[in-house]
């Protein structure tokens, strides 16, 4: 069997607020295999956002060890983290975070700019990804000319463009209506079936149920970790 894509061992994250020390993460251990499709759920304050920031290379753990795609996150400096975010990760945000003055295809090109890929190749790959998420007709539209669902698809294309090992989605359906949210989840399911590893961070158990596995968090600890029913999972497809 392959080594898991994500291997977290006893992650601890401490925040000092005034005199008080908050355990945002209090010894979190789990692993996610390549090709996995997993949701991390929990109410606000459960530490799921902290975990996501650490998984995303935006933050570093106070203690513990996190290896993603062979890279020990705790040992990376700023430059190493930037390269990690660029090559290993694809970020998807609740509020899409598209740059308003750029067209869809230019937005998708953005991470490839930081990878130093030349303009021609970039354009080609960006268009390819937009076609993949079903926006082949809207390459030169600006974000304001697109619906919320379409904007999130552009963001997904952007996350995919760097051919990352892991898609990390933070409440990806939070800003969308139920129907559009279902469509986005269906797209995730499709991408997963093509072999993309996806981790969704959400407070919504309905969203979590659409994935293959749910990790539940509370007060900085994992309180539950179970496979979702295949039937329920399929029901959303």
């Amino acid at each position: 069997m392959d080594a898991p894509l994500i291997e977290a061992t006893h992650l601890v994250k401490l925040y000092t607020m005034g005199d008080e020390t908050v355990h945002a993460l209090d010894g979190v251990s789990f692993s996610i295999a390549r090709g996995g499709y997993c949701a991390i759920v929990g109410p606000s304050g459960s530490g799921k956002s902290t975990l996501m920031n650490i998984l995303g290379g935006l933050d570093t753990p106070t203690a513990g060890r996190l290896v993603i795609d062979g890279a020990d996150i705790g040992t990376l400096d700023d430059e190493g983290l930037a390269a990690f975010r660029n090559r290993t990760l694809g970020f998807i945000f609740q509020s899409f975070n598209l740059l308003p003055r750029m067209t869809a295809v230019e937005n998708v090109e953005l991470p490839m700019i930081y990878a130093g890929i030349d303009a021609k190749e970039r354009r080609l790959r960006a268009e390819e990804q937009l076609v993949r998420v079903g926006l082949g007709e809207r390459l030169t539209h600006r974000p304001t000319q697109l619906s919320g669902g379409q904007q999130q698809r552009v963001a997904i294309a952007r996350a995919l463009a760097g051919r990352p090992a892991l898609l990390l989605a933070d409440e990806p359906t939070g800003a969308l209506d139920t129907h559009t949210g279902q469509e986005i989840l269906a797209l995730f399911n499709e991408l997963n079936s093509e072999g993309v590893t996806i981790v969704i961070v959400t407070h919504d158990h309905g969203v979590a149920a659409a994935t293959k596995r749910t990790i539940e968090m509370r007060d900085g600890r994992i309180v539950g970790d179970h496979r979702n029913e295949r039937s329920r999972h399929d029901a959303h497809v």
Binding site: D78, E79, A82, R87, F91, N97, Y114, A119
Partner: protein, 412 residues
């Protein structure tokens, strides 16, 4: 690692996205660079002008005039105190020629002003009674005809050589050689025309009539003055190296002859090279002063850039957070914002340079000065505006690069 072409592209996009703001921000630098360039060019023009006008009086030249010296730089004092206006004589000139070493020529002259009439036109030029040596002493060239010789000078012939302006005024359509003109009722034959020295400053050197010294003494300004006094003695040294020595020797000799002591002189020896130096220093100081004042406006322009860049960083906090999440390194963000500031200020610098040259051209043609644009000044202006961009863009760019991506993404 971001490609340079992408870096330039993203800076250009950011500046184009808010053209009004970019233009107004660059305006500060435009005004700063334009005024520096214009002022420095104006100063250089004034300096060139001063040098040219003094050099055109004659090189390696000392001018001895009657009257006590006052102040520095050869400014001539009032008559009285040390002596009157008629303290210099032809004998003084001869003594200088005979006794001072390193002298090429000595040219005594008598200045006068009188109405000159020819062709039914009249004009009021400066009339100088001179010896043939004057031509050499003052670096005059003959453009047409000839100059009078020693014999004609001694015999007080009624001949004149005209400056270009006088020819223009009195003989607009006629060749003046051989023509007759009248000065104080007497008839004079025009035998030559001087090559033009051009308008220098506010004085037209070509507005001159040269006549034999004896002729002027007897027939034009003779009146009540002593027969052997002169209004000026021009002393030309053989080279610039001996000029100081000649100046001292002339002074010593004249003190002996006039029986005066230092501080009681009834004559003044003006050294044109020291006047040139003083004038150069003065214009140099003015150039620096004007340039310095202008540099302050460039500084203000730089602060304007910093201000706008800080606003821009705040406005684009989310964008910066996103770029970092997508893999931008701190260096990438630093370069992106730094380049925007530098692009703004260099664009301002180039436009400012063009406007400054235009302004310098307008001012120099207004004041009738030569236009001096040193290429190294132009390069300096561009380089300096680039430096302003780097200096004032560095802090906002550093702030952007150091933003915490988690905080930045959370910002609405």
């Amino acid at each position: 690692m971001m490609r340079t072409s992408d870096l330039v592209g993203s800076a250009a996009r950011a500046l184009r996205s808010n053209p009004m703001r970019s233009a107004l921000t660059a305006l500060g630098v435009i005004i700063g660079v334009a005024s520096v360039v214009a002022m420095v060019s104006l100063g250089a023009g004034a300096q060139a002008q001063v040098e040219r006008s003094i050099a055109s009086l004659g090189s390696n030249l000392l001018i001895v005039v009657p009257g006590a010296p006052r102040g520095q730089g050869g400014v001539r004092g009032q008559a009285g105190g040390g002596g009157g206006w008629d303290s210099l004589t032809l004998d003084d000139a001869e003594a200088i020629a005979a006794q001072v070493e390193g002298v090429m020529v000595v040219a005594p002259s008598q200045r006068s002003r009188a109405q000159v009439i020819a062709n039914g036109l009249n004009w009021n030029p400066e009339i100088q009674g001179v010896t043939p040596a004057y031509l050499t002493a003052r670096d005059w060239e003959i453009a047409e005809g000839r100059f009078f010789d020693e014999t004609e000078e001694r015999q007080a012939r009624r001949v004149v050589v005209l400056g270009a302006t006088v020819v223009e005024q009195l003989f607009p359509n006629v060749n003046p050689i051989g023509e007759t003109l009248r000065i104080n009722g007497g008839a004079f034959e025009v035998i030559g025309v001087l090559a033009s020295k051009g308008q220098t400053g506010f004085q037209d050197q070509d507005d001159i009539v040269l006549a034999p010294l004896t002729t002027v003494k007897r027939r034009i300004s003779g009146r009540s003055r002593r027969a052997d006094t002169v209004s000026q003695i021009s002393v030309k040294a053989v080279s610039e190296d001996v000029l100081r020595q000649v100046e001292e020797d002339v002074t010593t000799l004249l003190r002996q002859r006039h029986r005066t002591r230092e501080g009681e002189d009834d004559f003044t020896v003006q050294n044109l090279s020291s006047i040139t130096e003083t004038a150069q220093q003065t214009t140099q100081v003015f150039t620096y002063l004007l340039g310095g004042i202008s540099a302050v406006s460039l500084l203000v322009g730089g602060i304007g850039i910093m201000n706008i860049m800080l606003v821009s960083v705040t406005e684009r906090t989310r964008e910066i957070g996103l770029r970092k999440a997508l893999g931008a390194r701190q260096a990438d963000i630093l370069h992106q914002f730094g380049l925007e500031a530098v692009a703004l200020s260099v664009a301002g610098g180039v436009i400012g340079l063009l406007l400054g040259v235009l302004g310098a051209w307008l001012m120099t043609s207004l004041f009738n000065l030569p236009l001096v644009i040193a290429p190294q000044n132009a390069i300096m202006a561009i380089a300096f505006s680039g430096l302003v961009g780097v200096l004032f863009g560095a802090y906002p760019a550093w702030r952007a690069a150091k933003l915490d991506p988690i905080e930045a993404l959370r910002r609405e």
